[in-house]
């Protein structure tokens, strides 16, 4: 990995210690991959307002990804020229959009985690503090959006309730990985996990839904996204995301 920040971004200030590249890559990949998944809703969202909302959330995440990946190397090379095994995102964010309830469940699980994580990173003057201080306020809107939809779908019709419960259950086994410690990232993981569980439990209960009870990681998995082991749909997503750049190197608008 190239430790030099991309030339035009120059995000790190001289007084700030260098970011641990493993953690920057992991958090940057989370943001990049989820941004791309949300972008897949463009043209397909159930209503226009949601089309705009999901695209806006995707844009915020893309901005975070650009900053984080630029701490590690060239953002475009990292996004477009790495193979699947080199990505360090959690498996949760690469899961396909599914129906709208699946997308909302994924947003609820991830944005709740990300808000708490950035909240911790804001403290002190670490290398992620400037981004975290900025992004935590954006992510609060993402979490708020996901909570409102969880309430509407869970406490809505029989059909919306059933779908929201199915989605929460289906994605539950990917949530354990969110709390794997990252190398040299100064985060209190147990506080993160407890805070996350308390918030999710509250929202799920208010939405008249049931907190999933299964294990938070699949016993069958060969490894986790943080180790570069990904689920089968991720390869297809990457192929679509990277094909233009790989087919036409250096192409610009």
């Amino acid at each position: 990995m190239n430790p030099t920040p991309a030339s035009t971004q120059a995000p790190a200030r001289a007084s700030v210690p260098a970011a641990p590249p493993g953690a920057a890559l992991a958090l940057g990949d989370d943001a990049l991959v989820l941004s791309h998944r949300l972008g897949e809703w463009a043209g397909h969202a159930p209503v226009l307002e949601e089309e705009v909302a999901l695209a806006n959330i995707a844009l915020d995440l893309l901005g975070q990804a650009r900053f984080l990946l630029s701490l590690v190397g060239d953002e475009d090379e990292l996004a477009y020229l790495r193979e699947e095994r080199a990505f360090r995102n959690v498996q949760l964010v690469e899961q396909p959009n599914g129906d709208f309830a699946h997308t909302i469940a994924r947003q609820l699980y991830f944005s709740t985690y990300q808000e708490l994580l950035y909240g911790q990173l804001t403290a002190g003057d670490g290398p992620f503090a400037p981004l975290a201080a900025k992004a935590v306020k954006e992510v609060a809107y993402h979490r708020d959006h996901a909570e409102h939809w969880t309430l509407r779908l869970g406490d809505g019709t029989e059909e919306s309730h059933r779908r929201m419960q199915t989605a929460l259950d289906a994605l539950w086994r990917f949530t354990g990985e969110l709390f794997d410690p990252l190398d040299r990232l100064d985060v209190d993981v147990s506080a993160l996990r407890d805070g996350w569980l308390a918030l999710i439990t509250r929202t799920v209960g208010q939405a008249t839904l049931t907190l999933p009870t299964g294990p938070q990681s699949g016993a069958w998995t060969a490894g986790a996204g943080r180790q570069g082991i990904h689920t089968e749909p991720f390869g297809r997503m990457l192929a679509e995301m990277q094909h233009l750049h790989r087919s036409h190197p250096g192409a610009t608008w």
Partner: protein, 169 residues
């Protein structure tokens, strides 16, 4: 009006800063960059060489690239051949950085300006958002996200007009 806290500017730097600050925002052209509060500083780093510090409203705001290009163009026009616009994140931009004149222009443009949040703590929920068309505070949220990341879509219950609200950040 430029409010960047850089006391030791030379006369030339001050003039260039005012010119850069007068560049209109690419998405809300009624506002200048100085009124939006995104211009953080300007420094002559050598003969014909200027460094400008710009901060984004939202991390992923695509307008930052247009802003940089516009600043470069304006300063090139002043005979500065080398202009480097640097993006800085800290301290994070807040809607409190929008000047009073900027808020007035937003409302005039039909966008409800952000409420002042103060140094800590969120906006009191009870504080209503005023319809920029008729002035009523009886407005409801239609969508948390609107035409750009920084705005929400609301409707006025008095005059029934929908309008954008610049979200507090």
């Amino acid at each position: 009006m430029v409010t960047v806290p850089t006391p030791d500017l030379t006369a030339l730097e001050q003039r260039l800063l005012e010119l850069a600050g007068a560049v209109p925002d690419p998405e809300l052209p009624v506002l200048t960059l100085a009124e939006l509060g995104v211009l953080r500083g300007l420094q002559l780093t050598g003969p014909g060489r200027v460094e400008v510090e710009l901060t984004p409203t939202y991390t992923g705001c695509p307008a930052i690239e247009a802003m940089s290009a516009d600043i470069e163009r304006v300063l090139h026009g002043q005979g500065i051949p080398e202009v480097e616009v640097r993006t800085v994140l800290a301290p994070a931009w807040s809607t409190d950085d929008i000047t009073a004149e900027g808020r007035r222009k937003l409302a005039e443009f039909g966008v409800a300006p952000p409420r002042v949040t103060g140094p800590d703590g969120p906006v009191p929920v009870a504080l209503g958002i005023r319809c920029p068309h008729c002035g009523s505070t009886d407005t409801t949220l239609l969508s948390r996200f609107s035409s750009t990341a920084c705005k929400a879509l609301r409707r006025c219950e008095a005059c029934r007009e929908p309008f954008d609200h610049f979200k507090e950040l």
